[in-house]
């Protein structure tokens, strides 16, 4: 599940649901990723990226202060970290926005695994 190339990858987790962040952190850490930080909203996420410069961001689409697409676009525009969008909805529920926002890919939350994440960011 983890190889040398992923061992040092630093990941920021963005989701407003704390229990989900905890599960995601454990999932990523078990796979050998380093979780650089957690954020519960869009502005917090942008600040954390600026402060910690993670290699990848696990980004929830629906955030209390904005949406993940806008955050992904902003990060893509500044040549920032790889972004993987997650949502409890399916990609089809968001139409073209998923592919248009500059993210590496989309994983429905219930299908989140280190393998699915690694396939997109590594």
């Amino acid at each position: 599940m983890c190889d040398d190339s992923t061992v040092q990858k630093r990941v920021l987790i963005v989701d407003d649901h704390q229990p989900f962040r905890a599960v995601a952190r454990e999932l990523l850490e078990r796979a050998g990723y380093v979780v650089s930080g957690e954020a519960a909203g869009a502005s917090e996420a942008l600040a954390a990226v600026a402060a910690d410069a993670p290699d990848a961001v696990l980004l929830d689409v629906q955030l209390p202060d904005g949406d993940g697409f806008a955050v992904a676009m902003e990060l893509a525009a500044s040549d920032g970290p790889a972004v993987v969008l997650i949502s409890s909805r399916e990609a089809a529920d968001y139409g073209r926005r998923v592919t248009a926002c500059g993210a590496r890919g989309f994983i429905p939350k219930s299908k989140l695994s280190a393998a699915a994440f690694g396939a997109l960011v590594d």
Binding site: H17, P19, F20, V23, A24, E26, L27, R30, Q62, S88, R89, E90, A92, D93, Y94, G95, R96, R97, K109, S110, L112, S113
Partner: protein
């Protein structure tokens, strides 16, 4: 009658009633007649003056019938006396003769004022005020000027007055034309003759006496015009019995019938609702006008106001006519008022139905959001956690956990479908085209989508159209045994059409309490229509047309 412009004379004003002038006018006329004979003035001239003075006095009394013509009445009487006073020029004593000469043209100026302020005593326009002032100036002040200068000025004023009167005549309509035209025509003819007389003075400077007499004879048409206007209005007045038949038999609208009966094409009917508001026949709210351009007459039935007639103020000069129409209309208007009230209520119900649907949609959005943020979020976290635990445990437990995770996944999928059915996120974010295409992809048979939509439509229209497509496609899958279906989203100039076609067995119809019946209710709340064509064996076409400017 409650009306904006009626000015009934207070009772103590009878002392100033021109009727009291009648004996005075007779006496003054007899005196002037005696003076004329004594001074050997031409008999025709004496006769013309007396005829004009007395008929002006009679017209002044007849005009009293019209409350708004009160000032007209006074001006007629004043003109009659001014005419007799002018005849003092025949008198031998120099002072009397000079006095008469000085006031020679006053009667004409008074009649000009009468015409240019006819019928309610207010000047027609600023030009009319100017013409009146000029008329007084040339007839009284002009006596001081050289004869020729006065004659030229008089011709100029007369032509201006003639122009104003003809223009006024041209603009008169309906009841105002009926009552005012005879006087104004008579006046125009008199002024025309006056211009000829003044012209003859300028040309010959002599022999004008007979033309002066002629002007007075022609001026006799003025009092005749006043009386004729009142008489003509009375003759035109239909009898109440005829009105009853006419108002009840005719199939045209009540407004048209009343407009015809009162000969006032501008007439409007405002129906009074129980809550005091006014509406037109179609139930649209109406404000009663405030201002002097329109008069309001209320119609009552059983002591209660049921309607207001908005009409030309000139009709107020014919209170008897308005009263008879009012009494007759009360019989018929009550039905019309009830119909208007029903239409107004219908409009309110329609508006409230739209609000109920909008509130329902907002509630759907809220529920979808809550499902997503609440239960769905927790189940998703649970599913990931189960997967995580399964990966670090013994095979037996891992298998149990994997089964549990499958169940949770199933619950999440069902919850997602439920949420999508309540309010699709894609519709809100990406619009109808994208949402319908996603719907088509999820439908387990080939569905082609064609769309001419280029812009977003109002939320209510998008949501209604989406649900029609969703419901129709669900029915295709469940009942049609179709091999394919198509959806057309077509934006027209004024409307938006949604057509869902399939090649199935047909025979579909809208059953009460069915999904399509619910769709139809939703569409009707938007003034939209839902139609189904579904001959047995011929496939089914569901077509919704939504108004959308």
């Amino acid at each position: 009658m409650a009306s904006a412009a009626v000015t009934a004379a207070p009772s103590r004003e009878w002392l100033r009633d021109p009727v009291l002038l009648l004996p005075a006018a007779v006496a003054a006329g007899l005196a002037v007649g005696w003076l004329g004979v004594h001074e050997h003035v031409a008999g025709s001239r004496v006769a013309a003056d007396l005829a004009l003075a007395w008929s002006l006095t009679i017209a002044s009394i007849v005009a009293l019938e019209r409350p708004r013509w009160r000032r007209t009445s006074w001006l007629l009487a004043a003109a009659a006396f001014a005419l007799l006073v002018a005849d003092l020029e025949w008198a031998s004593p120099h002072a009397l003769s000079t006095f008469g000469l000085a006031l020679q043209g006053l009667w004409a100026a008074l009649l000009i004022q009468l015409a240019l302020t006819f019928p309610d005593g207010r000047p027609w326009s600023r030009t009319a005020v100017f013409a009146m002032v000029a008329a007084y100036a040339v007839t009284i002040g002009g006596q001081l000027a050289a004869d020729q200068a006065q004659e030229i000025a008089s011709i100029a004023v007369a032509l201006l007055v003639l122009f104003l009167v003809l223009r006024r005549l041209h603009g008169l309509r309906g009841p105002a034309r009926r009552a005012q035209a005879p006087l104004l025509v008579a006046f125009a003819v008199t002024v025309g003759t006056g211009v000829v007389w003044l012209g003859s003075l300028l040309a010959a400077d002599a022999g004008s006496y007979s033309v002066q007499t002629l002007v007075r004879v022609v001026a006799l048409t003025i009092p005749v015009g006043v009386v004729a206007g009142i008489g003509w209005s009375r003759l035109r007045r239909p009898r109440t019995a005829e009105l009853v038949v006419d108002l009840q038999r005719d199939s045209s609208s009540m407004r048209e019938r009343l407009a015809r009966a009162l000969d006032d094409p501008t007439l409007d009917v405002a129906y009074r609702l129980g809550d005091g508001r006014y509406v037109d026949a179609s139930g649209r709210p109406l404000e009663l006008p405030h201002g002097d351009g329109r008069a309001i007459t209320t119609v009552t039935a059983g002591g209660e106001e049921i309607a207001a007639l908005l009409h030309d103020p000139a009709l107020l000069d014919e209170p008897a006519l308005v009263d008879s129409v009012r009494a007759t209309a009360a019989l018929v208007l009550e039905n019309e008022r009830l119909a208007a009230e029903v239409r107004a209520q219908l409009a309110e119900v329609r508006a409230s139905r739209g609000r109920i649907v909008a509130a329902g949609d907002a509630e759907r959005r809220r529920i979808e959001r809550n499902l997503h943020d609440g239960a769905q979020q927790r189940l998703v976290t649970l599913s990931v956690a189960l997967g995580l635990e399964a990966s670090g445990t013994d095979p037996e437990t891992a298998q149990l956990l994997a089964r549990a995770q499958d169940e949770v996944e199933q619950a999440i999928a069902e919850l997602r479908d439920l949420a999508r059915g309540i309010h699709p996120t894609l519709l809100r974010d990406e619009g109808l085209g994208a949402a319908v295409e996603a719907l088509a992809r999820r439908t387990p048979l080939p569905v082609t989508v064609r769309s001419t939509l280029r812009e977003r439509l109002p939320d209510s229209v998008e949501l209604a159209a989406y649900f029609v497509v969703a419901e129709a496609l669900t029915n295709v899958v469940k009942h049609a045994s179709a091999s394919q279906a198509s959806v057309l989203l077509e934006r027209g100039q004024q409307d938006f059409r949604v057509v869902i076609d399939d090649d199935g067995v047909g025979g579909a119809h809208i059953e009460p309490d069915s999904g399509l019946a619910g769709m139809r209710d939703r569409l009707e709340a938007l003034d939209a229509t839902l139609r189904i064509e579904s001959a047995a064996g011929g496939g089914t076409t569901v077509c919704a047309v939504l108004p959308c400017a």
